[in-house]
Point group: C2
Chain length 802, copies 2
């Protein structure tokens, strides 16, 4: 790929639209509209070389016309700006169901054929382009992974600005042109994302140029912003911090001139802001970045009136303006005259190739927005320079002899990653970096903030690159945009509130799953999510903070993408983090609490353990490997691992001849059959750990059902007795949490004895002893509700936790 021009090599001025340019921009736009309508309607006769007949029309009409002409209009003018200036631009279509418009753009720019050689730039290729759209075996009706030039899936609305802001961070030469539809603008995530400008640094980051495209209607009715007084809309956007440029109308060529001028003005503003910031002539206040409000009729240039009803400019133009073309000759005639209104004979030659007039509108090479490498970020990806994570290891002289906050060590690793990768790594977190014990990163970078900073602030500056905003949607979406353009990062959040952005996790997983099927899409850095402040240690915050549900949602993704890690201690966490940060195109979920916790493995042991994904902890059990154990005690997750180790200790001390095997699982997907997930253990290894017949008492961090579904299909899966979080949460002690959810050491001991292959002598006594301990605890709970000194006791002894 040719090296793109840097910003400083571009022209500084955009001239007014000449007649020649107008002609070519308008021709390109007409061609894009023609191709859009063709995709919705035609399966033959793509260039109208004959009169249109019902047989040319697709049997099922799908797709969205309404937003498409606006999307193509903006695209055409952005291309012209690129040609004038050499600006690198990434186009993000918020009204993502305008898919045919973006497909048309890629086709006109030649990228579509370069990407999919079977879709040739001729009549047959055009027929194929039309036929594949929103039809079986084809492409979706919205902008998607298959669309060259896109990093943004148009299915679930709301994320176009977060993706745009993520894309321009540490990308100084890039402008992300983000078209926001007025339907999408009603979603919470979108409304919460305008404030990205409060976090952008004009010297180091690129710029987002939002175009709020108000066509007034969504599927079935008007939009809020489309119907508000324009003064209110302006006020709203100015309030978010933008310099609002308004363009509206339907007159041609007037709209071409006005929009070209608006775009040139916006680009000039961006250039001036960046030049000042980069040239040292900046007082540090947050710039007022330009934003364009574009008002055009919905379904602009489409049929005005159909069956006596107003179509253009109303919600009726949202999808297919002429609905019964095959059956209704009037509709067929209307469609033909609509298509011919773009004068296709001027746009495509006899072979169906775009004419010179149209092609002149395209920028060159990788400056074409459908071909920019920023939209295929794996091409630009440089691996992280990772410090040796072993340097941050905890010294563990013996298992369970040291207690510390594991995430602090990760914080130190992240700090040094910031230092060695000042241009391509960021941490994203909803205001909890220090709370999550990752505060060491502030030794390497401040929090980034473009609004006013005061002397009382702590590690906040406009140059900071740790991204804190109290919005999971922003954090998640920024990281998506950042990784899809080839850079690396981590989203750290409270476990329970990871569900706020669960749909983003799912949709990003779907993106990566689909990208796997497209060889032209280069692998991108993984989406790494750290869940901390977990259910088990939110005893003080109570039930609303106790929810390990994201695991359930990640394990349902198609085999190769989702990975869930439950490191039991700091050294395992370091090993897992190193692995995840090196990986590409996965969704890695890492779950570990932030409170002081026991440490089990040396760094060498942790490396080996994590590499296997699961392993026997011989030191914890009594199984000497010479015969089958009486029971397997398995665990996944830090707190339940502590309970399991404690249960094994009780059994070891009180029933030394009872053969207990302790298996710790770090990589949850290792439980799955290998044919269902690449991390799945083969049957031999699985049976080495779990046997194929001994009962397994499995203590799990999350909802027990997750393990049931993961081990399904393993030999005699019914023998897995899983204990985990069963929604018994409240404001209580850490130990009471494990008792309430029946996963305490005493429950595990009783489970082990009840399910063992043989009943050892002394089993009844030990069970009675466990019952007594639980009764003591119940009494403790009663007393604690009535008598104050027990609070002190709770803190001193950790609620008799260990």
């Amino acid at each position: 790929m040719p090296k793109s021009a840097s910003l400083y090599e571009t022209s500084d001025q955009v001239s007014a639209l000449s007649d020649a340019e107008l002609e070519c921009v308008d021709a390109w736009w007409r061609a894009a509209n023609y191709l859009t309508i063709g995709q919705i309607y035609l399966m033959a006769n793509p260039l109208l070389h004959k009169q249109l007949t019902a047989a040319d029309i697709k049997p099922r009409l799908l797709g969205h016309w309404g937003t498409s002409p606006g999307l193509s209009f903006i695209y055409a003018h952005a291309s012209r700006l690129i040609r004038e200036t050499g600006q690198q631009m990434l186009y993000l279509a918020g009204p993502g169901h305008g898919g045919p418009a973006l497909v048309a753009a890629g086709y006109l720019e030649g990228t579509y054929t370069e990407t999919y050689p079977a879709v040739t730039t001729d009549t047959e290729g055009m027929r194929r382009l039309f036929r594949q759209f929103s039809a079986p075996g084809g492409i979706p009706s919205h902008v998607s992974v298959t669309t060259p030039g896109s990093i943004h899936e148009g299915g679930e609305l709301g994320y176009v600005l977060v993706h745009a802001f993520g894309a321009v961070m540490d990308n100084p030469d890039l402008i992300a042109l983000a078209v926001v539809g007025d339907g999408e603008a009603e979603t919470g995530p979108l409304e919460g994302s305008w404030k990205g400008v409060s976090f952008i640094n004009p010297a180091r980051d690129g710029a987002v140029l939002p175009v709020l495209h108000l066509n007034g209607a969504k599927i079935a009715g008007p939009t809020v912003l489309g119907r508000k007084d324009p003064a209110e809309v302006r006020s709203l956007l100015e309030g978010h911090g933008y310099d609002v440029i308004e363009v509206g109308g339907a007159d041609l060529p007037g709209m071409h001139h006005r929009f070209a001028a608006a775009l040139a003005h916006a680009w000039g503003r961006i250039r001036a802001i960046q030049a000042a910031a980069r040239g040292g002539d900046w007082d540090g206040t947050r710039p007022r970045w330009p934003l364009i409000v574009l008002r055009t009729p919905k379904g602009w240039t489409g049929p005005e009136i159909v069956d006596g009803v107003q179509m253009a400019g109303t919600y009726r133009a949202h999808q297919v303006p002429l609905a019964t073309v095959r059956e209704n000759p009037d509709h067929l005639r209307l469609l033909e005259s609509w298509l011919r209104s773009y004068r296709p004979e001027e746009l495509f030659d006899d072979n169906g190739s775009p004419t010179e007039l149209v092609r002149r509108a395209n920028p060159a090479g990788s400056l074409r927005m459908s071909a920019t490498p920023h939209s295929n970020g794996g091409l630009l990806m440089r691996p992280l320079e990772l410090p040796d994570h072993r340097r941050y290891a905890v010294d563990v002289p013996a298992p369970a002899s040291v207690r510390l906050e594991s995430t602090r060590r990760l914080g130190e690793l992240l700090r040094d990653i910031y230092r060695t990768n000042p241009d391509r790594f960021r941490l994203f977190c909803p205001d909890e970096t220090s709370s999550n014990r990752l505060g060491a990163v502030f030794e390497a970078s401040d929090r980034g903030f473009a609004e006013r900073v005061t002397d009382a602030d702590d590690h906040i500056s406009r140059d900071g690159r740790v991204m804190e905003v109290l919005s999971e949607h922003n954090c998640h979406g920024w990281l998506e945009g950042y990784t899809l353009t080839g850079r690396h990062g981590l989203f750290a959040t409270y476990e329970a509130f990871a569900m706020v952005s669960a749909s983003q996790t799912i949709q990003h997983s779907k993106w990566l799953q689909e990208a796997e099927n497209l060889p032209w899409r280069a692998r991108v850095p993984s989406l790494n999510i750290l869940l901390t402040s977990t259910a088990w240690r939110n005893d003080h915050n109570g039930f609303s903070h106790q929810g390990p549900g994201l695991i359930q949602n990640v394990i349902t993704t198609r085999g190769t993408i989702g990975r869930v890690y439950l490191p039991p201690d700091a050294n395992c966490l370091l090993s897992v983090a190193d692995h995840c940060l090196r990986s590409t195109s996965y969704v890695n979920l890492i779950v570990i609490d932030k409170q002081p916790q026991l440490q089990y493995l040396t760094i060498d042991e942790a490396e080996a353990h994590c590499a296997r994904g699961a392993g026997v902890w011989a030191w914890a059990g009594t199984d000497d490997g010479t015969a089958d154990p009486d029971i397997v005690l398995a665990c996944a997750g830090d707190v339940v691992t502590m309970e399991t180790v404690a249960a094994a200790q009780i059994l070891r001390e009180r029933l030394p001849h009872f053969r207990t095997r302790v298996v710790n699982v770090v990589d949850l997907m290792s439980l799955v059959r290998h044919r269902d997930h690449p991390h799945g253990m083969d049957e031999t290894l699985f049976n080495e750990l779990f046997t194929d017949h001994v009962d397994v008492v499995f203590a799990f961090h999350g909802y027990p059902g997750a393990v049931h579904q993961l081990v399904h299909g393993r030999p005699d899966a019914d023998r897995f007795r899983v204990r985990g979080f069963i929604e018994e949460g409240t404001t209580t002690t850490p130990f009471d949490m494990v008792v309430r959810n029946r996963v305490s050491r005493y429950h595990l001991v009783m489970d082990a004895l009840n399910n063992a292959r043989r009943t050892p002598p002394g089993a009844s006594d030990l069970k009675a002893w466990c019952e007594a301990r639980l009764a003591e605890h119940a009494q403790y709970v009663v007393d604690n509700l009535q008598d104050l000194p027990d609070i002190r006791d709770w803190v001193v002894s950790g609620g008799r936790h260990e």
Copy 2:
């Protein structure tokens, strides 16, 4: 409960704050602040009758001081407004971690003791109040289900305005005072909820009075709105449509006078808007509702400087300003002087009861915001007048002989519910009511919209009560607010995008689960969620629209709350809907597609089938009940039921002596053991359907793992071979969807034969025949990618779907 004054009986004027009122409002505020600090710090000596010692201090200091004085300040003044006017008010605390402030308010108003008699209004009760806060066995650190007066859990931020708007719909006499914190204001859901005013009708609805409380900081840093130029903040809120009233400062008593005046002004504005609308003097334009921006220092009235560092007014005041009180005598001394600065001796008598001066600040009876019945909506709930749902039944002369869009019948039922319940039922939907085939409701009610309406609009008016906004967060949250205040409704949405608001579903489930433990909380109408446009029939939209994940999240809720229904046809849907709309305090998830589908059961059969939750479809299978079947074919979900019935038909026709039993499951929770869920079948019934040993081929609508986890613990659960959605989605035909996910009729036939108790003669031939059908389909897919006529074939034959 005393009947509350109607709006028109209230006073019209609020006088300026007199000296006497100032004294009592200020005293109440000081008392609330005192109690807040007490909750965070003290476990003994609550009234400082002796000098404070380390032994009086809780061993672990938890809680959030920063936002609390502001919350109490607003509360004190709202109470004064209520006393002056008789206005019914509901107080929603967005900065929900200001829990101690709201607990203090309830305690000062006497409600806390009325609700929890053990927390007496005396010294011992106060000690108990302090001790229980954010401590084991106590209450969470944020506003929660346990807080009298609250319908809003403060754990997961972002929903205070959606709850407030939902609460005032069809509640003309209510003002919901919604305090929005500047931390919460950064979340997407909150930013997306300001626009509630665009949907409120001043004649029929009550009013939301937002107080945006800017104290400038969140946990660890400044907030965006706290640091923006105040002119930008004003511009933003005016852009949303509000009339902005600003009050700021820390001076006393000046702040009391200014805030009292602001509140009086806001209330007067609301009254004037409502009076005009209700008196007929309204031009129909959207009112500019008042909104107060209150700027006070974070941790106002708390320690200014601690250990030489500025505390008040900074993020450091967020939680516990004095962190080491037990260990550090300076901190202990500071705490004591801080507490004494409120002059507790004026606020509480020697017995620890609030003095007359403080009590005078409380409104009377149910006008106290901690005692308003609107916050315990079950008290106000009137059951729906439900038309006989059998009237909408489909005539089904024989199973699988009729095909229609099932949700249309539901739409007709909902239409008539609108008619018979014009004051207490609403449908909430992100712009998809017609798309989801529920459009019959528009015969009874328009869409509600307060912005400009044009002649071209379809069923939109300011009087409409069907709520469409392109925001799952708004729809979901409005319904929550509506049901928590005692009214009924349904949220209908595309299945895949239900994950957008999944965290709301989870948090609402948690609310209902906790409320079950509190006898004083009356049961409220259930949260009913209809998922349609399902994964299996989003063939044209593709993979991003294919996600049945919400089921996974609902089945993990604690036993009694979550219910999942998969009606296979219209009559079952009607029966399920009737059941759900009569139910209380559940989260009911109903999943059914909107496309034309086969109808199986008469309404009588459907009623009986749904009442049992699952049942044998004798007409579909060959099992005559005289002996065990050779295989059980089970199904849950409309599309997979069709495949199962078709598979059974193939087996019946080709291997008539093979005993196939078809079991359809409507109520997914019936699969769970009865001890784990009230809907769970007892073992006898379960075995009557599934036997305890015959293999079950289970075709499931969602991810297969869900069924594995539900049947865990049933006899020999490993015999359940579950097929379902395995993330094999794309743009394709409906039939290809079931083939790709290996749940087609042919896969099911082969599964049945492979897992049957005996291999019938002809099994190999039939399997080969199935393989041939799948090979044909594979060829069809290949051809279809290359040849146009197959598209026509796909539509005509439904992709050879049946």
